[in-house]
């Protein structure tokens, strides 16, 4: 007997049961699908597919009514925290409010309904959109051009590293090492490996910044470049950035800017002005495109003049006035590889071009285009003044929390931070046994998502809090009070047990992660 689709006990409004899976809701012969009437002759499978290629039976999926489908996923949605429910102060993730207007934009049929291989003459709006976004991001970063193919930050990193490689190769140099601070995000070293380089870790100094001595010691002509997050993942601005840039450039290395923390410096300082050669941006962070429970994002890569020729292609370009001569690189024209002017003469103002020494394609098509449309919307609403305000308020919020919470948590690097503050539960743990993880789980009971914990790795019992600029002072107050209450309770009799019991108000309590790995159940069919 299959499960009852109409029973709502898994909605936290109603109860604390688990939600049956689609497969448990399934009943043979039930269905939701409806397809349009086509009038095409109904040849049988036998007539259409050679027997050796035919399935013996249909793929067993689930068989549910539309009613149960709706109830199932609506209930699941009620079992999910999201920005739209409350504050999400995950450090390094910039979980700001995602304006609803962007959903409308991303659903416009004129954007969402466009096939990626349609000829340039039929996608002028899209090409114009990408070019406009490129110009905006170049203005924000101080770079010369950008590619939008990378689908997320890590893809941007790898793209950037391949650009670095191509650049050095073009100069007939073989450089094998890329420097990474020990506070870096895990994608950085992973990307370095995939880019065919070796990682050299540079330690942080006592102030939480790159140790200049160690950096200098690590630099030589085998260094292809350095990857920096600035402000770094400790939320601190690398004050010596000019010196770092000089030192790296001196040995012929390039500077890569991990833009995940760009939110802090919008309109204040630009990676290009700091001396960076390559920048990836996380549109799903700084530019407010929603994170989708893990994705999609978009990780465009902007570069300085000397790297433009290596960018992935084809890329959307504004066409010059001269016949078929786009502004840079080799014109690919209407359908990637053909003359740009196949449409009505003079109509096509945008086309495709592949840079002369392009590293090649890094995405099936043109990147996460609909995410780009969201980001451009966000950027235009804010404009130059608004983006600056974003940075100010983000930094203001983080510092307010830092000062307010300095009494109850460790602040490993207690100096003005940028858009996020790294706290630590190290003293708390020593004193009470309550760890960062417990603090995180207790915060859920307080009505907040937890901060990022145990990252960056260089801080013991790290609690990395990024309030973002869209949370109000009142929310910060409530969050701080919750943090304080948790610390105070930990000091009380039975505090450790209470902390371990958290969260008690959520539909499930602490989850057995060890068991998940030990007895792997990656699909419903693998259940014991």
């Amino acid at each position: 007997m299959s499960a009852a689709g109409g029973r709502a006990l898994s909605a936290p409004l109603m109860g604390r049961d688990g939600e049956p899976t689609l497969f448990e809701l399934s009943e043979p012969g039930r269905s939701s699908w409806q397809l349009r009437t086509t009038g095409v002759p109904d040849w049988s499978e036998d007539e259409l597919i050679p027997s050796g290629h035919r399935r013996t039976g249909p793929v067993p999926l689930a068989e549910v009514s539309e009613r149960d489908l709706v109830a199932h996923f609506t209930r699941l949605s009620h079992r999910q925290f999201s920005v739209d429910l409350g504050a999400y102060p995950l450090g390094s993730c910039t979980m700001k409010y995602n304006p609803k207007v962007c959903d409308t934009v991303a659903a416009l049929p004129g954007l969402a309904g466009v096939h990626p291989a349609a000829p340039a003459s039929t996608v002028q709006g899209w090409l114009a959109l990408v070019v406009e976004l490129e110009e905006a991001l170049c203005a924000v970063t101080g770079m010369a051009a950008a590619t939008f193919q990378p689908a997320a930050g890590a893809a941007g990193e790898l793209t950037g590293l391949l650009l670095m490689r191509a650049y050095h190769e073009s100069r007939r140099e073989t450089r094998r090492r890329v420097l990474i601070p020990d506070s870096a995000h895990g994608t950085n070293p992973a990307s370095v490996t995939l880019g065919g380089f070796q990682v050299t870790t540079v330690p942080s100094d006592a102030r939480g910044c790159v140790d200049m001595e160690a950096l200098r010691a690590a630099l030589d002509t085998d260094v292809a470049g350095i990857m920096l997050t600035n402000p770094n993942t400790l939320g601190l601005f690398e004050e010596d950035i000019a010196a770092i840039a000089d030192a790296v450039h001196e040995v012929g290395g390039l500077l890569y800017y991990d833009g995940a923390n760009l939110n802090a410096i919008l309109g204040v300082v630009r990676p290009g002005d700091m001396g960076f050669d390559i920048v990836h941006l996380n549109l799903h962070k700084t530019f407010a495109t929603p994170h989708g429970g893990g994705g999609p994002g978009a990780g465009p890569v902007a570069v300085s003049e000397r790297l433009v020729d290596f960018l992935p292609g084809p890329r959307p370009v504004r066409l010059g006035t001269g016949e078929g001569s786009p502004e840079g690189g080799r014109p690919d024209g209407a359908g990637e590889g053909r003359p740009a002017h196949a449409g009505p003469p003079g109509a096509a103002r945008y086309g495709w071009a592949t840079p002369a020494r392009s590293i090649g394609r890094v995405h099936s098509w043109h990147g996460n285009a609909l995410v780009l449309a969201r980001a451009l919307t966000y950027i235009r609403v804010h404009g130059g003044d608004g983006l600056r305000r974003v940075a100010e308020r983000a930094v203001l919020n983080a510092n307010w929390l830092r000062v307010r919470l300095a009494g109850s948590y460790d602040v490993p690097f207690d100096r003005p931070c940028m858009h996020e503050v790294v706290l630590a539960a190290a003293s708390l743990k020593r004193r009470t046994g309550v760890r960062a993880l417990d603090v995180a789980k207790r915060l859920l009971e307080e009505g907040f998502h937890a901060p990022t914990v145990y990252f960056p790795l260089v801080v013991d019992e790290a609690l990395m809090v990024e309030p973002t600029e869209t949370e109000s002072l009142q929310t910060l107050e409530a969050l701080a009070t919750a943090f304080e209450r948790i610390a105070a309770e930990a000091d009380e009799e039975g505090g450790l047990e209470a902390a371990h019991a958290a969260p008690r108000t959520t539909p499930v309590g602490r989850v057995d992660e060890a068991r998940a790995a030990r007895t792997l159940v990656p699909t419903y069919d693998a259940r014991p």
Binding site: S32, T38, A118, A440, L520
Partner: protein, 463 residues
């Protein structure tokens, strides 16, 4: 002043005072003065949201492609996405959540992904599916990374029937990973594998660690998976199948044919054409490879009270823990598209997916029979069986056909040279590339549209 910031001027003042600061500028004291932007960003000031929406609408209106009846495919298909799927997958809890780091408040996304994994795995005929990669190309690249590591050999034989863009991506990333990618050409629409295992294919001296084949391949033709498996076995190589997930609804599963890894483009499952993204990289593999799996994996477990619960698992593979030795650098992926696919596959169900696949095949057959009557148009791959897409040879350049048919209201398909480049590649000659038109017929195409297409084609090929 248009923005989404809550701070009132009073609050900003009070907060700065709390910090002992006199102005917002002082917040940035750590930024060396010399580097600071003097005049602000060289950008227009903010505009009210309704103005911006109007601008975005005007950009959308400047496109024409979405108003054409779509016969383009090449990995991105115009399938039915019903309002119910859009409504559910668009719920803000799914859209505005982060990666499920706190499973106690993320069971919604976790369970949906678990259901997605189950259905993706069933489709592939393999026991494991991950929680998504960026797109088909990135899934292929990851599969090759996995395969070469598993085999301990860098040489990769890739059928030229694999989507050209995917092969281009593989080439790009191989510059970093150091794989030797050898393209195995097509003959009569299908891969011309060496007759004998020992026979060389291209310049690669080393035997292959990985062998990649499309099913169906990008020209729509059905490859012989058994032959590929035998060859892989002969070399001790892993077999990666780049499968079309809709055609999989009617075809023998790649897992059944012995694939070690199945990758695919999941866009057909509920995701908008969207000018190419965000899409959904499908990745399935055998249990033997699960510890090399790239990206996120959701597993079932229990909570402290023994209640069923879901959590991301085998996390030690991932970049945030394993860093430079991670199986992949992927972090942000395409979870929302995986959730969307779960909803769409839930809506289609067992019978619906089979029906969609069947209808695609019927439409393709109908077009194939009708189109040969058009003067000068031929089937590029001859009699090779095709399922949901077919390649034509047109007497005038295919790009011209596409432009002409756009004025008649049809997106005629994808000119092959737009995929392969003007010189063609192992899949087609330069001449075939210039005259090759890849045409996809989905379940949404009516007989009237098909007949109209053929009539418009007839007109378009007259030079």
């Amino acid at each position: 002043m248009a923005d989404y910031l809550p701070h009132t001027e009073t609050e900003v003042g009070a907060m700065l005072a709390f910090l002992g600061l006199g102005s917002a500028e002082e917040l940035f004291a750590a930024v060396p003065a010399a580097l600071r932007l003097a005049g602000g960003l060289a950008m227009a000031p903010g505009e009210p949201e309704p103005d911006v929406l109007a601008h975005m609408e005007s950009l959308a209106d400047a496109n024409r492609a979405h108003r054409l009846v779509c016969f383009a495919g090449a990995g991105a298909y115009d399938h039915e996405v019903p309002p119910v799927v859009r409504a559910l997958a668009g719920r803000s809890e799914f859209v505005t959540a982060y990666t499920p780091y706190q499973p106690e408040v993320a069971q919604g996304v976790l369970q949906a992904v678990f259901e997605f994994q189950t259905m993706a795995a069933r489709l592939a005929g393999l026991p494991v599916a991950n929680a998504s990669l960026y797109d088909g190309a990135s899934a292929l690249v990851e599969a090759v990374n996995l395969g070469t590591t598993a085999a301990g050999r860098q040489t990769v034989w890739v059928s030229a029937g694999v989507h050209p863009h995917w092969r281009h991506c593989l080439a790009t990333f191989s510059r970093g990973s150091g794989h030797q990618v050898v393209e195995v050409p097509l003959e009569g629409g299908v891969t011309r594998w060496p007759d004998e295992p020992g026979e060389p294919v291209g310049p690669g001296a080393e035997p292959p660690g990985v062998l990649v084949v499309g099913y169906p391949n990008y020209l729509g033709c059905l490859e012989d998976l058994d032959a590929a498996r035998r060859l892989a076995d002969a070399h001790g190589a892993l077999m990666v199948v780049a499968a079309d997930p809709v055609a999989a609804g009617i075809l023998r599963s790649p897992g059944d044919a012995g694939a070690d890894v199945v990758v695919g483009e999941g866009q057909p499952f509920g995701t908008a054409l969207g000018f190419g993204g965000p899409y959904l990289g499908l990745f399935c593999c055998t249990l033997a490879q699960v510890r090399r799996l790239p990206g996120r994996l959701v597993g079932e477990t229990v909570d402290v009270q023994g209640r069923r619960a879901y959590v991301t698992t085998l996390r030690a593979r991932e970049q945030d823990i394993r860093r430079e030795r991670a199986t992949s650098n992927v972090c942000t992926n395409q979870t929302l598209m995986a959730v969307t696919a779960a909803v769409q596959l839930g809506w289609l169900g067992t019978a619906g997916l089979a029906e969609v696949a069947l209808r695609c095949a019927r439409g393709t057959r109908y077009l194939r029979e009708a189109v040969v009557a058009v003067d000068g148009v031929e089937l590029l791959t001859g009699d090779a069986p095709v399922v949901r897409e077919l390649a034509l040879r047109t007497p005038v350049p295919a790009a011209t056909v596409v432009e002409r048919m756009a004025t008649e209201g049809y997106l005629a398909g994808v000119a092959l040279d737009a995929l392969t480049g003007a010189d063609g590649d192992g899949s087609v000659t330069a001449d075939d590339a210039a005259h090759g038109l890849l045409v996809a017929v989905t379940e949404r195409r009516t007989r009237a549209e098909l007949d109209g297409y053929v009539a418009a084609l007839d007109k378009a090929v007259r030079s």
